[in-house]
Symmetry: C2
Subunit: 326 residues, 2 copies
Amino acid sequence: MLAGGVGGARFVRGLREAVRWWHPDAAIDVVVNTGDDWWLGGLRITPDLDSLLYTLAGQNDEQRGWGRVGESERVAAELQAYGVTPEWFTLGDLDLGTHIARTAWLRSGASLSEVVARLQQRWDLGGVRLHPATDDEVDTHVWVASDAGGEHDLHFQEWWTRYRAQLPALRFEQRGLAAARPSAGALAALEAADVVIIAPSNPVVSIGTIVSIPGMRDALRAVTAPIVGVSPIIAGAAVRGMADACLAAIGVATDAGAVARLYGPRSGVGLLDAWLVDEADAGVVDGLRADGIATDAVPLWMRDLDSAAALAEAALQAGLARRSAS
Amino acid sequence: MLAGGVGGARFVRGLREAVRWWHPDAAIDVVVNTGDDWWLGGLRITPDLDSLLYTLAGQNDEQRGWGRVGESERVAAELQAYGVTPEWFTLGDLDLGTHIARTAWLRSGASLSEVVARLQQRWDLGGVRLHPATDDEVDTHVWVASDAGGEHDLHFQEWWTRYRAQLPALRFEQRGLAAARPSAGALAALEAADVVIIAPSNPVVSIGTIVSIPGMRDALRAVTAPIVGVSPIIAGAAVRGMADACLAAIGVATDAGAVARLYGPRSGVGLLDAWLVDEADAGVVDGLRADGIATDAVPLWMRDLDSAAALAEAALQAGLARRSAS
């Protein structure tokens, strides 16, 4: 599976449930977006990897929708008092433990993949293995118009968290991307996969960033397994997050069909063998099928674990059907 | 003033009080030991500088005798769960804020002196300025006998905190010492001083480490100000801490007179113009005077702020008396 943060985490939890019941021999490898990562207060923060880690470990804050359950912010208050971190980005105390551990291991020479493997050892993730899409640092910056004319950039986290993606994005810049390579774990997982699922994550800054890592698109197009995508858009609105602001920046409509065409059919130069849209978007099915993407309309909203598991099983079945067909 | 951690902090607080009442125009510069510093969990920890910072800022835990008041240990539990820090060294949450800030600034290229200056800006230290003795990393290791014969070393913090200085030390090794230089702030403070006071800190691993930084001893011997030391030993016992274990390792008796001779008279090749011992040690006064160290017996025990201030004023007066005499 390819996944971003919170939305991806919900879907993976459903997938784990589906696998547990119907495919108990199967393992789940998740290739996780690292384009939201950044340095803050001298610590390397990897929001998507952490969302997946905490959610799969049962340590996430269900109420708030992100971060650790039972979180506190004593250290963050200190960091803000020292002027080390901005007031618009708060690091929870428990979360900071993860950041400190990660940074210590990175500084001692471990790759991000090794760090992720070590962090996972603490908890039982139920057979799910997380892999950063790349071990190389790729930080996303967002270019916006300046008040005084011209334009300037800010880190994706500032645009996303401080400005809630409300500053119109002119374009995204992935710094370090040209020199980045897919992680060995990501490539091995893709090669061994029976089905590849693209989670209903942000198609621009999560899935888009994973796919734009040099070598990743070729690796995806080379997999023998079918590739099934799940739409992050239902009836013209993002399932969660602010994907619309990201899609607007690259001139793509916030529409389940438009995102499928952004990914493109594998029979062309794209990635998708199959695509799942919500029943509310059944109108796009025929057009996408005509474009070579085997599309089905299913209940796409993940209200709870059961609905997430049912959606994941639908994605798996869409893939397995393509597999036996080929 | 030259000072180590907790004992030094108490004395400086007394000195600040004495200066406030009797020498309101005077400023206090403290040259602080950095030999206890270490890297833990990817963070640079500077125990003595922090003890002084917290105590002078009124943020120290009086009850416990070290660390921040109102401290908690949520992050430390995370770090131990990840296996990043050992169970015998707990980093408080509030304290971690300081370590993260320090490390972030150091990693961004600031010197330790600049870091200390920034940390001090957060609080009103009542006119006291802290300077690390050196900006270079000098980590103290302790050599001890191995069970299987031979010997091995451990970081000073492990010897001190985990083993409570109970493993007999064969010798101390200051790694990085040969390449270290006194900080510019320390040298400037010494040069401008009217009186230099050596606090009643550990004479081996605090004062001893400061003085052994290449160039520091020469700088001290070159100051025009008188140098007054305050004994860290009263009646054969350390005022606080485990100085006896450190003195034993270098073959010096735990005795107010022996420590004075370790520092030595400035008229010889040593550092001291004057020396204060406790009234319980009045017996050493004459011998030290004969050796060229102007020694007085005064109440040395810092029970509270008033007694610390009285002791500091006695040290100041001993220095000022030498100054007008010269």
